[in-house]
Subunit: 232 residues, 2 copies
DNA sequence: CGACTGTCGACTGTTGACAGTTTGCGGAGC
DNA sequence: GCTCCGCAAACTGTCAACAGTCGACAGTCG
């Protein structure tokens, strides 16, 4: 599991985690090219392990690669975001369906708990950190008990995070998302697979539209719009 | 387009294709460990590009990796096969749904054509080469017009091929599969997304059960009967 | 003044060698 | 005879250096 990280990992393995964090936190800007020698020097490692780590992140979809030009952080337009969410919907709707069929009482209790934490955090004035949103979807994957689907969902979610971290989410969307989660829990509690899948589809459509809107605001007018608002 | 393959690919890129073929054709046996130095010498390349190719195939799911032990060809028991087909069903049912909604007349004609070729080949006495089965699913992906889903389906299909190549398929299963394909085409022609998804689910269940049965025949009765098949 | 071409710099692609770890074998001890 | 310990071989992990390729700049020709 994602327990205490075994520090006995290889250098390349550690580098994957470090580099992934650099990308997801935006420390390496979107679209920025990754210089192998410079980055290797900065990490006090050789180019070999770094290259393997880069290739790994490419396979995870966080980086893209151009021959003889190196790798750069993936940047998505609206079309790619739609395509990504089609994949996400395919996977998570199936997960919701399986969760409804297979969930144990323990799974259901955990879902309720995470949902309660989210609402608590929200009403305490915090901005519904997507850590709790991720935790909810993670619990759902546990309930679905389908390891291969779970792995793929995690990869897709990483790519969503890569885009989501760039902008803010508004309050109305937060409220609607939590309502979706509650409906999803209800469907899973009833072991209603079709309803769980449908609610998930609705939820993901909402999240997608919100992200497309935010993308259009910050990235839409691209002609020399050089306001690199990476602050967040 | 996917025209003449750019032979100017990097050595690592070429090696990926060569190694993938070696694995899928069974030239590297299932479970067999991959010796880096030996294989690099045999391919007249250095270990660097070979390692990158190996890591790539690991990310594709064809190889698995053990620290300090190297990579070996993935071998699946019944439980893993069930998990794999849950992922496949999630992806391909969604693809079938999208294909029903988005297919053009040209897509439909192509599907009909591939289906006819399959039937022709079958009645000519051939054993329904799964190349044609793959071609059918490929056409369906084109009709679905969802690039991310298509990519993932291709990766999953590779893993299925890795297991399917080991054994034969019986005639009854072949006949049923072609009937499934025809029903799927009909549903897509009617733009009935729900029915297309349902037919695909049935089809994949059939294929899965046939593979599980074949797996149990050829691989099940091993010396120490460790039938931990809790595939639910 | 504009377009083309030759050269330079930087970076990726590849290689061979070195170091650390694991595994298998052989011998000593019980 | 069986078990445990130690050594050696083989393999993976890592590194530094070499070679090939692409992009940019400057010089030259029309």
């Amino acid at each position: 599991m994602t327990g205490p990280a075994p520090q006995r990992q290889s250098l390349a393995g550690q580098t994957v985690d470090v580099l992934r964090e650099l990308v997801l936190t935006g420390e390496i800007s979107t679209g920025q090219r990754v210089n192998e020698v410079e980055l290797a020097h900065r990490m006090h490692i050789s180019r070999g392990p770094l290259r393997e780590a880069i290739r790994h992140l490419i396979s995870e979809g966080l980086l893209v690669y151009v021959p003889h030009r190196g790798a750069h952080v993936r940047q998505a337009d609206a079309a790619e975001l739609y395509a990504l969410f089609e994949l996400r919907a395919a996977l998570e709707c199936a997960a919701a369906r399986l969760a409804a069929l297979r969930r144990s009482d323990h799974d259901l209790a955990t879902l309720h708990q995470v949902s309660a934490e989210s609402r608590q955090s929200y009403e305490a004035g915090r901005r519904f950190p997507y850590r709790l949103d991720l935790a909810f979807h993670q619990c759902l994957l546990e309930a679905a008990a389908s390891p291969r689907i779970a792995d793929q969902v995690r990869l897709v979610q990483q790519q969503v995070i890569l885009l989501r971290s760039r902008h803010e989410v508004d309050q109305a969307h937060t409220h609607a998302s939590m309502a979706d989660h509650d409906q999803l829990i209800a469907a899973i509690a009833d072991r209603d697979a079709d309803r769980a899948s449908a609610v998930m589809a609705t939820h993901l459509d909402r999240v997608r539209d919100q992200m497309v809107a935010a993308l259009g605001e910050s990235d839409g007018p691209m002609d020399s719009g050089d306001r690199d608002g990476d602050g967040g």
